[in-house]
Amino acid sequence: MQEKQQTQLKASPKSESAKFEEVLKNYEAVIGIETHVQLATLTKAFCSCPYNYGAQPNTSICPVCMGLPGALPVLNSKVIECAVKVGLALNCKLSLSSKFDRKQYFYPDLPKGYQISQFDIPIAAGGYIDVDLPVEFGGGHRKFGVTRVDLNRAGVPLLEIVSEPDMRTGIEAAEYAAELQRLVRYLGVSNGNMQEGSLRCDVNISVRPHGQPEFGTKVEIKNLNSFSSMSRAIDYEILRQAQLHSEGEAHQIVQETRLWEEGAQKTVTMRKKEGLADYRYFPEPDLPGVNLSEDYISTIHDSLPELPETKRRRYENLGLNMQDVLFLANDINVAAFFDATIATGADVKLAANWIMGDIAAYLKNEKLSINDIKLTPEELGELIASIKGGTISGKIGKEIADPSEIEKIVDRVIANNPKQLEQYRGGKTRLQGYFAGQVMKESKGKANPALLNKILLEKLNSKP
């Protein structure tokens, strides 16, 4: 499946989890996430250079993205469209007029000495995201606030999504991020790939004793390359901070950026905050403000696909259990396959089982995506109908599982090969494989092997 990062997470080892439970009795973590989503636009945000991940350095550049004197940025309208889609999908209020700002600092990969981003008027703000926690983590539905969605660090177009500090555990945070990934993939605005850096999450985390209204000192964690490392990094950091709290050493928690080290399974100091950086933001004079008409927004709204949350609720209403729901709705292509299958009238539960069982296993073994397989939803529907109707058994599905049918083929093969039969009966029992092969060939590979061998052996060994 295309899903390279599984959203299903592995539970921490028992001892860790017990320790964690203990800590949560006394302390509460406050977690907020800043996500950068690299938009899958064909061209860069402010010029017509194509953007390809992994292209040779400096092969896709022009005066604009090189920041040559006299060159000017022109906004790629697709970028706005993507931002509006995400804003709508996150239930945000869209700013009908927003603007771009310059964020200034010197850096070698920043040709102009400033980024074009959005400072005080993001394109969308004040939304939320619905998350269903996995069953193995106790399940449950959560709603996490989204503060703002803005266009950030352009060149390659990035969307920044800032959450409210609404999460309390690593799992919640990872599920929030997984839901964002699902969302951007559903919307087709990004491939959401964490390894390529198309989806990057920086986590802000602080710990406070239960009942304390103000937040503790927050620490930022970077370098989180998967949801499970995100979850583990957060839990590690909660334990670290809670430990310091409980030892009366809370002052050792300082505002800093920490790096998650996957090898050591811990966070380490990357850099301490040395005062606030002054980016000298001011409105970008080279770009007019972004004005969105109600018409434009409603057109985009109408074109949105069914979103993960809606899909999950619909699947739930079909009578599927939460585990099935989460699996099917996780990948938009899998969900589409499922939807197309049940549209043929196939039994919902059987369709789910087929997709989650044999088909998923096959995809995993063959490293294929559901779009790559030859089986169509119509065929699966037909198959399910036949099984349900009793024509063929569910266990063996498309195989020929009818003994009388296999027997006919076996008889035919034996009759056509008298010489080999004679040799077999004369002691050359290795020829059983030859007969089995012939039967399989006759049945076009569909004969159930166990049944075939059983019948074949009976026939071969029966006294004439």
């Binding site: 920041g67 004197p69 906004l75 010197f106 040709p111 004079p285 007019p288």
Partner: protein, 541 residues
């Protein structure tokens, strides 16, 4: 009033003037003596005259180019208008191609054979584009600015790159990292700035027209100092793509010509929406030249009903009396052409200068961040990144530029932003609104182009505040984003006899009106020729 004591500076061959005078006499001499054609006025449009003589085969593009190149080279040692002059063979080859086309009766563009000077902060792919800065020494852009591309598409020949104050920051062209340009009217004086090279070159007829850029008056003030026409278009009228940014919300590419007609024809060829500049306007570009009325067809009061507002605050203390009297003379002339004149007060006018210097410096501090020595221009090798940045900038940028970067960085810094940048933006809004109001009550507004005539080289070099104060007449127009036309209207009475220009400000995208009025004005203003004595004897217009 126009000073009657002012002697005409140069008499033209009477023959040329007579025909038009005769035609006019029949029509309207009895009603309005003011419409006597200026006996000494040059041909209204070099571009139109050139076109006519090229198409009628009276002259060839090669001969024309040769005569300009000859004059350019003759005066260049004294003037230093150009930072780069295209080699003769490159220019002549383009002229030859035009001649061949004309010979074959192929169509040629409206600027066929017109030799254009281009300010060196406007990108040209085939010539260096230094913006007058060491940090871009020998830099050759891989592309033409949109305005330059359009010029070339119209058949114009770019003859060279003109001198300027570094990155357009200055009012004298002394701020160039390479050379000081002299004023053709008096070589000991500045040509104004920052487009001083373009103004001097057009004035000395080293090229026919020129492009400049105007962020706070950089086209209009040098036009006034050099006695040529300077046109600052509405913000968005001309694409800024390829204009090396100084202050992006104020920068516009502008036009220099020896006549209003030429400035207008030049503007027409470079205007219009550009996919490469998101701030360029989709507003239609009128054919300005079609609005021009030749002298012989003018009615007695051709500007009847036109409401002219004279900005009160621009004719007060701090403005040279000779300048005031010349501008008042121009106003009287407009009145005689039929305009209704009234005085307008813009109380926010004096706020423009501080607001301008804060906003322009703030934007420039950001725009000039790209000159870090990494990708282009001169690099000073450093042990580590910050010293590479620091040393490249320390060596590559001049003192005025550094001062503005520092001022702008300060104004945008946390804790100061509200007091400076934000306040200045609020002032900008007030100024924009006050101009809008005044231009609802008036068709055009009038002020001097500068508080003085051209001053001595070195006079204000060490007194930046005095130099900044000279921009008072022009900066408001950039803050409001409006078009303005500066044209010569007289001379100061002193022995130097330096030209004085006045400024007409129009409503946004109303260049057409400014050009139409200016065209009538210059044809009917009596008694003056604005060809500097330096080239008078070799210039036949």
């Amino acid at each position: 009033m126009l000073s009657s004591a002012q002697a005409p500076r140069l008499l033209r061959s009477p023959a040329a003037a007579t025909t038009t005078a005769a035609a006019l006499t029949i029509k309207c001499l009895h009603t309005s003596p003011i419409l006597t054609p200026a006996a000494t006025s040059p041909s209204p449009s070099q571009i139109l005259t050139t076109r006519k003589s090229l198409l009628s085969r009276q002259t060839s593009a090669v001969d024309l180019a040769k005569s300009f190149l000859q004059r350019l080279r003759r005066h260049e040692p004294q003037l230093s208008s150009f930072l780069y002059v295209s080699p003769d063979d490159v220019v002549l080859k383009q002229a030859e191609e035009l001649d061949t086309k004309i010979k074959n009766n192929e169509e040629v563009g409206p600027l066929a054979g017109v030799l254009v000077g281009v300010k060196d902060n406007i990108c040209t792919y085939d010539m260096p584009s230094t913006a007058g800065s060491r940090i871009l020494e020998n830099y050759r852009p891989p592309f033409d600015a949109t305005a330059v591309r359009k010029l070339r598409d119209s058949g114009a020949i770019v003859v060279g790159k003109t001198n300027l104050d570094e990155f357009g920051m200055g009012s004298t062209t002394e701020g160039s990292a390479y050379q000081v340009t002299a004023n053709p009217w008096d070589l000991s004086r500045v040509p104004g700035g920052s487009s001083g090279g373009s103004a001097a070159a057009v004035s000395a007829r080293q090229c026919m027209v020129a492009l400049g850029s105007d962020t706070g008056g950089s086209v209009r003030q040098p036009a006034s100092f050099c006695g040529v026409v300077g046109l600052k278009p509405t913000y968005g009228r001309v694409s800024r793509y390829g204009l090396v940014a100084y202050a992006s919300s104020l920068d516009v590419i502008g036009c220099f010509g020896s006549s209003v007609a030429d400035a207008g024809i030049l503007l027409h060829s470079i205007s219009g929406f550009d996919n490469f500049d998101a701030t360029s306007s989709k507003q239609e570009v009128p054919d300005y030249a079609s609005q021009f009325v030749a002298l012989e067809y003018l009615e007695s009061k051709p500007l009847k009903g036109l409401r002219v507002g004279v900005i009160h605050e621009t004719l007060e203390n701090g403005v040279d009396s000779e300048v005031i009297s010349s501008v008042r003379g121009a106003v009287s002339h407009l009145e005689e052409l039929g305009c209704t004149v009234s005085e307008v007060s813009l109380p926010s006018f004096s706020l423009g200068l501080p607001a301008y210097y804060i906003l322009a410096s703030s934007e420039s501090s950001s725009n000039l961040s790209r000159y870090d020595g990494v990708r282009f221009g001169n690099q000073v090798f450093g042990e580590e990144l910050n010293s590479l940045y620091g040393d490249s900038r320390a060596e590559g940028l001049g003192s005025e530029v550094k001062m503005r970067i520092l001022m702008g960085t300060y104004a945008l810094s946390a804790g100061y932003y509200d007091a400076y940048y934000k306040r200045a933006q609020q002032v900008r809004t007030i100024i924009r609104n006050s101009f809008k109001d005044a231009l609802e009550k008036n068709d055009i507004l009038i002020s001097p182009a500068a508080p003085s005539v051209a001053y001595k080289i070195g006079e204000k070099k060490n007194d930046p505040l005095a130099m900044y104060a000279g921009d008072i007449m022009t900066v408001n127009v950039n803050l409001a984003g409006l078009p303005a036309l500066v044209l010569p209207c007289g001379f100061d009475g002193g022995s130097a006899g330096l030209p004085v220009g006045f400024q007409m400000i129009g409503a946004a995208f109303d260049e057409e009106k400014l050009l139409k009025i200016g065209h009538i004005f210059e044809q009917t203003l009596p008694g003056y020729s604005f060809v500097p004595p330096l080239v008078a004897d070799e210039w036949t217009g």
